[in-house]
Symmetry: C2
Subunit: 390 residues, 2 copies
Amino acid sequence: MKATAVAFSLLAGLTALAQTNQPPAEDFKPAATNQRDKDYPQVNSEGRVRARIAAPQAQSVQLEINGKRFPMTKDANGVWTGDSTPFDQGNHYYGLVIDGAQVPDPGSTFIFGSGSWRNDIEIPAYDQDFYALKNVPHGELREVLYFGKTSSTNRHCFVYTPPDYDKNSNKRYPVLYLQHGYSEGESGWGAQGHAGLIVDNLIAEGKAKPFIIVMENGGISGGPGGRGAPPAGAPPRGGGRGMFNFSAFEQALIGDVIPFVDSNFRTIADQPHRAMAGLSMGGMQTRQITLAHLDTFSAIGLFSGGVISTNDVNNTPGFREKVKVVFVGYGSREIGNRVGGGVGGDPKVNTEALKQAGINTVFYVSPNTAHEWLTWRRSLHEFAPLLFQD
Amino acid sequence: MKATAVAFSLLAGLTALAQTNQPPAEDFKPAATNQRDKDYPQVNSEGRVRARIAAPQAQSVQLEINGKRFPMTKDANGVWTGDSTPFDQGNHYYGLVIDGAQVPDPGSTFIFGSGSWRNDIEIPAYDQDFYALKNVPHGELREVLYFGKTSSTNRHCFVYTPPDYDKNSNKRYPVLYLQHGYSEGESGWGAQGHAGLIVDNLIAEGKAKPFIIVMENGGISGGPGGRGAPPAGAPPRGGGRGMFNFSAFEQALIGDVIPFVDSNFRTIADQPHRAMAGLSMGGMQTRQITLAHLDTFSAIGLFSGGVISTNDVNNTPGFREKVKVVFVGYGSREIGNRVGGGVGGDPKVNTEALKQAGINTVFYVSPNTAHEWLTWRRSLHEFAPLLFQD
């Protein structure tokens, strides 16, 4: 068995090497993440990215995706072009390096991720239909400014209201509080996460109940700031960073955000109709905050951000009665990794133990994705249908 | 008189030259348009911009603002720094040029303007308080997706709803349709235009009636596309360009946008409670569309985008009875220019003639601004209090 495994590894390595050295499939098309009318960057059927930029006097231009750099070459007109090796389906952060300067690619649009405004590039996924823009009723993504008394700051969040929210002015809705990861911000789920489109499509198919989604800044990782979509010139800009201490955000969420949402949106303002989920650091925040406030939340979603253990259940009075569903999702390529996959122990073992203990638990593994947005889009897509089913 | 004018011009030229060659005032501060926690670019009290970027192998790096380029110089660590000459107060579009490659500055945030996603930089204005983020009740900026039957496309617009819109579920509101300029898009007024903050502040001071603002894509200049704030990876991306033929947008606005807004928002759906305004090309669209649909609109705002003439009034049956206010605004530095200032003749002469003809007309000149956003922010700030006063 061991020999077979080694042989398989070698074979896989050789295949990857061969792929790298072979000429790319010449079926490149402009990426979905491009600016309108921009021909580059492009993506081919193998998941390779081809970048292009005019830089007549440059000595060296590279394409950088997820921290890996790929050389580009100059033609007679001073235009540089270069291809990456194949990347997984989904959304990756990238940029260009021009004579040592790390700059955004002017051909792509911009999102806030990994600590700054930057480019992302979309490699079409086999299941991209679930987050596609379709001719179905759409909810709204609202940029909301308010003053938070607990934090004593002007706060900035996004609120998704489901289709027909404004047509049924007597109807009230449950709420999902949905958090971003470390060094990201409140814009991520609505932009590169496609949260609105995912839930629009599920509601149109009758697979999810309509609910409100609140996307606030988790408080310790900067964030995009600004007003308007895209990033506005207005304050709030500037802002602090901190270590993984979630207590200020816990206070702001319980003391400011939820009361603001309950008094400004038509929510069903009780525990059975309130859920919380988050990705990566947002999952850790979700675990800490929900366990401390089970009279506030009835559903828990952890996307690449740890697990609930049987110890957590045993140490939290009322857990069995109060929690309707625990969802744990990961990308297949991150399980066992230090970041994401390893937090709180093996998620499969943990969720199995929870199920055995009689907790309604769902464990999901996103095929062939790492600690990236396709894992989290799919996790939301799996989690949303489980919510507010009573 | 002529000699005096020439002498004054010479003197102004020499002063400008002297300013350029003098060392800058060393009171530079990070710009309001920076990404959080980014120290550069900076702006000083003279309106100079100082840019900085690490580009160790570069041969040449320049700062480019409004098409003017300024050299930057390299230090021993490979970090380039350079200052511009003084610029007017307000918002300017800019970028960097690294060995001939025109790229965004990774220190700034991004807006959609002048045909692409790019950087803007804010030079603090003496009157910036009117668009500052304050602890007042805020409206929401909503990103709205819907299917337009007339255009047979998935449409994307932004809708500002005033403070307390969701608290008074029986109250209905008037609507301002507010358009962007050529090669810009539906995101501009909410982002670099600060439309929401301007109207929030006016409402808080009791200077404007609460109203809804609809910001749609004028249809012939591409646009930002996307869902979420900032630009999403999702469609709609791609899109066409065209010449200055506004009939497709006119049909979409009358046939799709207004019916959608009237059936999805709590509008007062009649002519007295509907206004239209726009900047530059959006002003020309406003003129054409309102004159053709005076049963739909009762107020007209043209910001750096032409005038209404007495001929227009005489050629449009019912104008005197139906139009409550005509507002014409310009920047002092653009009057007489081919772009903006010159459209439809001298705006001061034209508006005087309108007043003489008994039309309620307001002419506004923004001090020391050109065909840029501070002119248009100020124009909105002057126009909004005139609306829906009955």
